[in-house]
């Protein structure tokens, strides 16, 4: 029983970090209406940036946010501006361009394999950072400290993002564009600038996720693929475009992965996740909190 509770708590903690990795996906989808297949690779890049920042300076991993978030924002902003924008301009009429999915897949392949080329295939991790291997002892239960801080960070990030989109001028411009591109551009909002911003913000949240992962997770060139596929599942479960939905979707996946092995072979939980995903796609494609689109 105590194990079940411990697994549940750890599942929620890890799940919220999964949710954090998927936040960027959902923001980008909400505005651009495309699934960014390169999101996992951007997370991977952010993890390398975090790793080297902490490795070379020796600061507390969470302090590296000051470096990682701006770097990733700029990276995402210009990735959208240079690579993806031309396609939007070419396919103005298409509401949900498949071509963009394909291009982001190309970006994924390039980033993953360039990293492989530069840093090699080996797994890297921060051996002696302030959080590694630390545990809270709660009665008979062990709760991972870095995952706990990841959980807190996920909640804070989602809250900030929500506040930003609801309350600030730029946030309103972003939401207006996501609701109606033509009408908002008639109001003087440049849609392409908003796309760049949204992409930058989405990539920056991947940077935040990378910082929470680094204290206890390995970095390697294909680490993004794991989170990529999970991210797709999470955002569809939670509802594409919904911030709270992404967190909830992440927690569902985290719970299945951590509680599931009590009842079955651990490798089977992956199959359960895919099955759940397909059931949702077929029965309720708009997800738990999603806006109803005319799919």
């Amino acid at each position: 029983m105590i194990y079940l509770l411990e697994d549940t708590i750890n599942g929620i903690l890890m799940g919220s970090i999964y949710g954090l990795t998927a936040l960027g996906l959902t923001v980008i989808f909400g505005v651009l209406k495309v699934i960014n297949f390169a999101h996992g690779s951007l997370l991977m890049v952010a993890m390398y940036v975090t790793y080297w920042t902490v490795q070379m300076s020796g600061i507390h991993p969470y302090l590296s946010l000051v470096v990682v978030v701006p770097v990733m924002f700029v990276f995402g902003y210009y990735l959208q501006d240079i690579v993806i924008k031309p396609i939007f301009k070419a396919e103005k009429e298409v509401r949900e361009p498949i071509t963009v999915i394909i291009v982001t897949t190309g970006v994924w392949y390039i980033l993953d394999n360039l990293t492989l080329l530069i840093f090699g295939p080996q797994y890297r991790n921060l051996q002696d950072n302030a959080l590694r291997g630390k545990m809270f002892v709660l009665g008979d239960m062990l709760i991972s400290v870095p995952k706990f801080w990841g959980f807190v960070t996920a909640l804070v990030t989602a809250g900030l993002l929500y506040w930003f989109l609801q309350r600030t001028r730029i946030g309103r411009a972003i939401r207006a564009t996501s609701l109606d591109r033509e009408a908002s551009s008639l109001m003087g909002i440049s849609p392409y600038k908003v796309y760049n911003l949204a992409f930058g913000i989405g990539t920056a949240t991947a940077g935040v996720a990378a910082v929470t992962l680094i204290p206890f997770y390995n970095v390697f060139p294909t680490v993004g693929v794991l989170f990529d596929i999970k991210g797709f599942i999470i955002v569809v479960l939670g509802g594409l475009g919904s911030i709270g939905g992404a967190l909830l979707g992440g927690i569902i996946i985290g719970l299945i992965e951590s509680v599931g092995p009590q009842f079955m072979a651990a490798t089977w939980t992956e199959a359960i996740v895919y099955a759940l995903f397909l059931v949702f796609l077929f029965l309720k494609p708009s997800g738990l909190f999603g806006v109803k689109y005319d799919w």
């Binding site: 949900e96 392949y109 490798t267 796609l281 077929f282």
Partner: protein, 337 residues
């Protein structure tokens, strides 16, 4: 010389070249590369039936390759059924699965359909990796299945040399190209095209878009599964990571997209241009620059999507047509003079 006769002689030239190559080329390595090239051309052409003509983006075709490969291999190893028969059984099984995926997913648009097919293929991979025995069938989980090359011969689809494989996959490729040509000229082809470009308008005209897409999906999954059996018999060893991997699904889609989806020549051109890149970069740079061919794939994919969204077949077709025009023009001029 008329345009028609030029086209005919060009086709004849290609056919003679393809048929005669193994007689000239004695290197087993190059033959192997060529066989895989045709294998990919076959796969992408089959993919194109649904990914190109139906205007959706399936990213899980490796599932069908896996179903074909595993079905025929299990039937052969455990029951001694000839792989040729197993190929058909695998194809029929894949068709059923394809229809099962298509029924609910064709209602969805672009991104959702792509995600559903990925999840489906990955789910099948996870299942194969986790199951050692499924009822009476030994699947062998992540270790895969090996076919001992004991009884060689046409009836067992096993040969000591590569030439027979070359001709088998060549015939399969020619057949699927012919099928694609027929479909593109048929009512079904027009339905698919209309449904892919303007679904609302097509439906308003009474075209049953969903049904047309479902037929395309059924054919595509059937044909893809046949290639799975071919692969199993060619390499004599299959495991989940080789035949049901996400990488394979993506590579099929990439080659078709770069070549030009929705055209007949596009997928073949894509395989013709990209497979050598991937093979030779692995031969020469495999240890110094791992993943070089994937970087090249990514860059080419982005450039093609930016500047030639209809694929490389478009400028090449234009070039070919201009060449034919010039030939026909000058020849015609001489004849009249």
């Amino acid at each position: 010389m008329t345009r028609r006769s030029i086209n005919q002689s060009a086709c004849l030239l290609v056919a003679v070249l393809a048929l005669g190559l193994p007689l000239v080329m004695r290197s087993a390595t190059y033959l192997h590369i060529l066989i895989l090239l045709y294998f990919y051309a076959y796969l992408t052409t089959s993919w194109n039936l649904v990914g190109g003509f139906a205007g959706v983006l399936p990213l899980g075709h490796a599932a069908f390759v896996g179903i074909g490969a595993y079905t025929s291999t299990i039937l052969y190893l455990q029951y001694g059924v000839s792989p040729w028969l197993g190929m058909l059984v695998g194809g029929i099984l894949a068709t059923l699965v394809g229809i099962l995926i298509g029924l609910p997913t064709f209602k969805m648009r672009g991104a959702y359909f792509a995600l559903a097919t990925i999840a489906f293929a990955e789910g099948i991979r996870v299942m194969i990796e986790n199951i050692d025995r499924l009822g009476p069938f030994v699947i062998n989980g992540p270790r895969g299945l090996q076919i001992p090359p004991l009884k060689l011969g046409l009836s067992n689809f096993m040969f000591a040399v590569k030439e027979p494989y070359y001709y088998i996959i060549l015939i399969m490729l020619a057949a699927v190209l012919l099928l694609t040509y027929c479909i593109s000229r048929s009512k079904l082809g027009y339905y698919l095209n209309a449904g892919g470009e303007e679904p609302e308008a097509a439906m308003a005209l009474g075209v049953n878009v969903a049904r047309a897409k479902l037929i395309a999906m059924a054919m595509s999954s059937f044909l893809t599964a046949l290639a799975g059996t071919f692969y199993a018999q060619f390499t004599l060893y299959i495991h989940p990571k080789s035949v049901v991997s996400l990488d394979l699904s993506f590579e099929i889609a990439f080659i078709a997209l770069i070549g030009g989806r929705g055209s007949i020549a596009g997928p073949v051109l894509g395989a013709l241009l990209l497979r050598p890149v991937s093979d030779f970069s692995r031969i020469y740079f495999g240890d110094t620059v791992p993943g070089l061919h994937l970087i090249i794939f990514g860059v080419v994919l982005i450039l093609v999507m930016l500047y030639q969204p209809r694929g490389l077949q478009e400028p090449l077709t234009r070039l070919y047509n201009r060449l034919v025009d010039r030939l026909a023009g000058t020849e015609g001029g001489e004849a009249s003079a």
